[in-house]
Structure formats: C-alpha cells, structure tokens
Subunit: 357 residues, 2 copies
C-alpha cells in the first residue's frame, strides 16, 4: 500500500508531476535546452518577484550542497551562524569543515533566533557573513528573517546574508528582494513537491561580487562557475533534465495558483494543525515562531509515537517522529507542497481515532 | 520529433527506464528505503565483481562532484593528474581549485597517457595521488588504466589511484579490483543509460583510510560522511529516490545481459563505427587507444559537421560535433547504454546517404 508522505520531506508528489520525468531526454548543450531552461528561470523570477539584482540557479544536488557553496564560495574569513536545530547545526559544521572560522549564535532547540540577538552579535563581532536557517525542520521553528534581513541591509551593507530556506520556499512567504538576503535556497522535495535531486538557489549581485574574491572554490561548489553558465541558460555540469521537466510543470502550477494563494493554503494547514496540537498536546516551538510548512508537536501526554506512525502508515499516511534527541519527545507533521487543509483534517481525524483523542 | 541521443551523454533512455521514475516516493530514513538501497548496492557489487575491500556509493550529483570529492577528501598534498582532453583538464583544475598542489602529465589531445609516462613521473616526483580519466569524451581516447593500476599497486602501495570512468563504466570493461584503483566513478547518463543526476562511485578501504586524515572535507564533498551513511544503507543527504528506482531497474537489466555481453555489445558497436570512420575519414585517437563507448572521428574531408547534425536530427538522431577547439575538426558518435550494432548501422547508413559517402 502506498503511504502518502506527510513527513518533513520528501513530501508527497502527484502522478501528474512524477510522470513529467518520463519525457525523453535532450542534449543539455543544445538550443532546445537553453530555451526550456530560460523558461524555468523566468517562472522562478515571476513567482519569487526577483529584481535584476537577483539571479536564480538550479543545481543537481540535495540542499546540503549549498551549505558547501556558502562555505567554499561566500564566507571570506568569519561567519556568524545562527543555530537552533539539527540543520542549522549542520550548516555551521559544514562551514567549519570548509576551513572557515565560525562564531555560533545558539539558542535551545524550540527557541527562535531573534533580531536583537543577531544585532548584539553584529555589534561586537567582525563578520563577513551571517547564516540562518529560516525553517528548522528538526524543531518546527521559523526564524524572523525579514527583520534580521532589514537589520543587516540597514547597518551592515557588506555582510552577506545567507538563508537556508530548504523547507519553506514555495510554501511560506519567501521574497528574496524583501528579505534583503544574498543567498537563499530550497530543496525540490519540500514545498516545491518534486522528487529530491534539485536545489533551487537565488543569489544577489553582492554575493557574486564576494564569491569572485574567494580562493579555492573547487568546481561543484563554485558559485562563479555556476553563474557563468546560468548566464547562457545552461548549467556547468550535466543537470538532471528529468527533474527539470517536473520543476517546469511545478512552476506552471504554482504560478496558476498564485504566490498569495499558495501561502494562504499553507497557513491554513498550519493553523488547523496547530489548533489540533494545542487542544491535545502542546506546540514545541516558542510561541509566535511556528513554522508554516510543518508542525512540531510536544508529546506531553507521553503517547507512543513509533506505534502511532506504524498504525497510521497502515491507513496510508506517513508522519514523522522527532528529530534526533527529540525522537520520542516530539512528532512532526509536514503540511507542505500539494497538501490542502481538508486532507490534513482527514489525517488528524485518523490520529484522533487511533489515539482516541 | 524526438531525436534519439547518440551524443557522448546524455545518452538515449528507454520509456521502460524513464517510467520507473514515476513510482511514488518513500522516506529516505525508513527501513523500506534501506532494504531497497541495499539491493542496489548488492547488484553493483555483483556486476562489478567487488571484493569486500571495495564499497559503492551513489551520490545525487553530476560526475563532476567526484572531482571535488577527490580534491577535498583524497589528495593530501600533491597529485599527479594525467591530462589528454577537456575532462581530465577540468579534473586537474578542480583539484587545484581545492587548494591542492597538482603536477600535470599532459599529452596532445588525441594521444593516450602510457604506463611508461606515468612510471617516469612517479620515479622522479613525490605524489600521494594519481588521477586519470579512463575514457576522454572530448577526444575518444581510452587510457590504459589496467597497466597503470598494476604499476601503482606493485611499486607505490600508498598512492591513491583515482579514475574518472564517467563515460565508460557499465559499457567498457571496468572491474575495480582488477584495475587496482582506489576511487572510480561514473555518471548515470552515460553507459548506465539513465537520466543525469546520479553518480555511481566505488572506493577502496585505502581511499577511506586516506580520507579520514584529510582536513576540511566540507559536507557534500566529504567521503567519510558519505560512507558513514552507506554503511547503514542510507545517504547522508536526501537522495534522488526517483532516479534510484531507475538505477535499480537498470542494474537488473545489466545483470540479465551479463557483464561480458554488455562489453561485447559495446565493442561490436565501436568496431563497426571505427571501420566506417576509417573507410571515409580517419580516427582522431592514437591507434590502439580508441574508446569502446564513443568514437571521435577526424574530419579530414572537411565536411560541414553542423549541417550534418541538423539534417540527421530531422531524421531523428542526434550526434555531436567536436569538443571545444575540435568543434569542426572532429565529430563524435556515442554508442553507449541501450544502443546495439544494428541501430548504429542504421544511423551510419543515414550519414552515408546525407553525405553521399
């Protein structure tokens, strides 16, 4: 039996999208490809309201590649990395693993990074890059990147602001121009509701001006090489053409639904899930900082999460336990991509039934 | 009209394989995934006759990622890189771009790197890694990696031998144990006849022992991180599950055909194409070093390659002009993956017809 995915990724992908991948391949160096890829880039620019100061790229990779891209091509000497969960922690370790100095601004899992915290660090330290994870999939916390972006753009014009939007872009409100970020990226298997294998990135001219000065960027992690080819509507290395077919179709669907309606649909699912969670349990994230694309629920009733997941899977839906150290302490419901509130109601109703809530 | 791909990659992929990608996604952290992925790894080990000393990994990336992996996780201080075409040149530049010292052993495009050349360099230099491209897609030259591997294993037990087999593995004879290499990898869109987006790598224990000592491996380019997860039949970052479905199916087909028959089929196509080329033109590669998976033909009759490609495309087949500086001087026919000699005969017959050969 097929288990529909409500985990924080990969999320459920419809047959309509999956079947796009069975279109025949074309040469990635021909005019047909460039015309096709230009179309995708235009659609990305439309949907995310990009100005000319911002450029998009699609890499054949998981989202984590962009942690390395930031480490290899963006951080000059010293990055401030905001850490409040497993993925932001990985981002910090990756930059350190690229041989760059990292100062970590850390709060407990479940708490948000506030603008004041970042302001205080920036006043006392000397950073060339600020890194944050917008939507921590491990804790369901959503950090206030618009306010942090405004602070950086106002007071620190030379700092590069890099945002991991892996599980929020194309679901939550993500407009790079308004955030004032310089690097932002998302994985295909989250709100874009595609199979995993692509990462959609948007960078500012400021980021490219920085990158050109950084030595030892390698090849696969070289932002300059990537954008040299993006200029001619190609990719430096053979891209996953099948998944690009699916991305093209997805962008058509997103544009048809419109940016505002996509967000409203996600917010509606989030609100319903939060209300359900508050009625029966408690929310894990600090109040006011709850993710719009996944809900992390505190298991205050000490329910057996593993057992629920198994039983729910038999009814055709897969949700997720807590991440790492939160395994039995929380559980997570991803409501991103193709899902709508009626389907979420059905799944939560099944949990009511199984747990007799 | 669909143009069937006889370019050096991506190669043609059948609907049977493409449609595997429309299977529903599963969680990459569940038991179902690990069972499935273990199956792929077992099939890779069977087909390539891997001993316990060798381990496989599949990364969600183009082949070029592995240039970076070698640069970041393998080369300690000083690599000898054999260069005889565009891709080996990129490999050398990538390792330099990772901040490692590179000594280049270069011969003219069209020439092969011989075992004597490597032996001479190794006698005089102090290298921790030797890098070679087995099958240079830019020139159609096939380097003698079995002899070079034997030399290294006999006289330089500590040297890591890294082989780019991007366009030869699963078509030409590639048995890592017999080559004695430590790192070897191939892209999905060449002889594996899958869409682009995966890279299949095989490494020796010697390579992993080296990697653990190398600082600043990053995350996406960290061989140790990759194999920590491979041990539990997972990948460190969300993999392209759709393409893994297709790879699994491809391994079934390859095993059914058998390793020897796959090679014989490729050799038969290569021999037919070479004979045709020698009758009408000349081969670009040095005699005795011709690729088994693609043929690079010297345009001694000064035919208009661009015009032929256009006309042939209208008949439903796409071949390739020369690479970079060889654009009008050579043309290339890829005969890899799903193709067989009868289909190659048909395509060459069409060229006879168009060019009145």
């Amino acid at each position: 039996m097929h288990e529909k995915l409500l985990i924080p990724g990969p999320t459920e992908v419809s047959q309509e999208i999956l079947r796009e991948q069975s279109r025949y391949l074309i040469s990635h160096r021909g005019k047909s490809f460039s015309d096709f890829y230009r179309g995708i880039k235009t659609k990305l620019a439309d949907f995310f309201e990009l100005s000319n100061y911002y450029k998009s790229a699609v890499t054949t990779s998981s989202g984590t590649l962009w942690f390395d891209i930031v480490g290899r091509s963006i951080v000059q000497e010293n990055a401030l990395v905001c850490v409040n969960g497993a993925f932001s922690s990985r981002f910090a370790k990756t930059i350190q693993g690229c041989g760059k100095k990292v100062d970590i601004l850390e709060v407990d899992w479940g708490k948000a990074i506030t603008t004041n915290m970042v302001a205080n660090k920036l006043e006392s330290g000397n950073y060339d890059t600020v890194v944050i994870c917008h939507n921590e999939s491990s804790t369901g916390v959503r950090n206030p990147i618009y306010d942090i972006g405004a602070l950086i753009r106002k007071k620190y014009p030379n700092i590069i602001f890099a945002v991991d939007s892996v599980s929020s872009m194309a679901g939550d409100k993500i407009l790079p121009v308004k955030i004032g970020c310089d690097v932002i990226f998302a994985s295909s298997q989250k709100c874009f509701a595609l199979p995993p294998g692509l990462c959609i990135g948007v960078v500012s001219e400021r980021a490219l001006k920085r990158a050109v000065k950084i030595p030892y960027r390698g090849s696969y992690t070289d932002l300059i090489k990537i954008f040299d080819f993006e200029e001619k509507y190609q990719t430096p290395f053979t891209p996953n053409i099948s998944l690009l077919y699916a991305l093209d179709k997805r962008m058509d669907l997103l544009l048809k639904e419109t940016y505002d309606c996509v967000y409203e649909r996600h917010l509606e699912m989030a609100k319903y899930t939060r209300d359900w969670a508050k009625k029966n349990f408690a929310l894990f994230p600090e109040s006011g900082y709850e993710s719009v694309t996944l809900t992390c629920i505190k298991n205050i009733c000490r329910k057996k999460i593993g057992s629920l997941i198994e039983k729910l899977a038999k009814r055709g839906f897969l949700i997720s336990n807590g991440y790492g150290k939160l395994k039995e302490k929380t559980f997570r419901i991803g409501h991103m991509g193709e899902w709508n509130v009626n389907e979420i109601k059905e799944v939560l109703g099944l949990i009511d039934d199984l747990w007799k809530l």
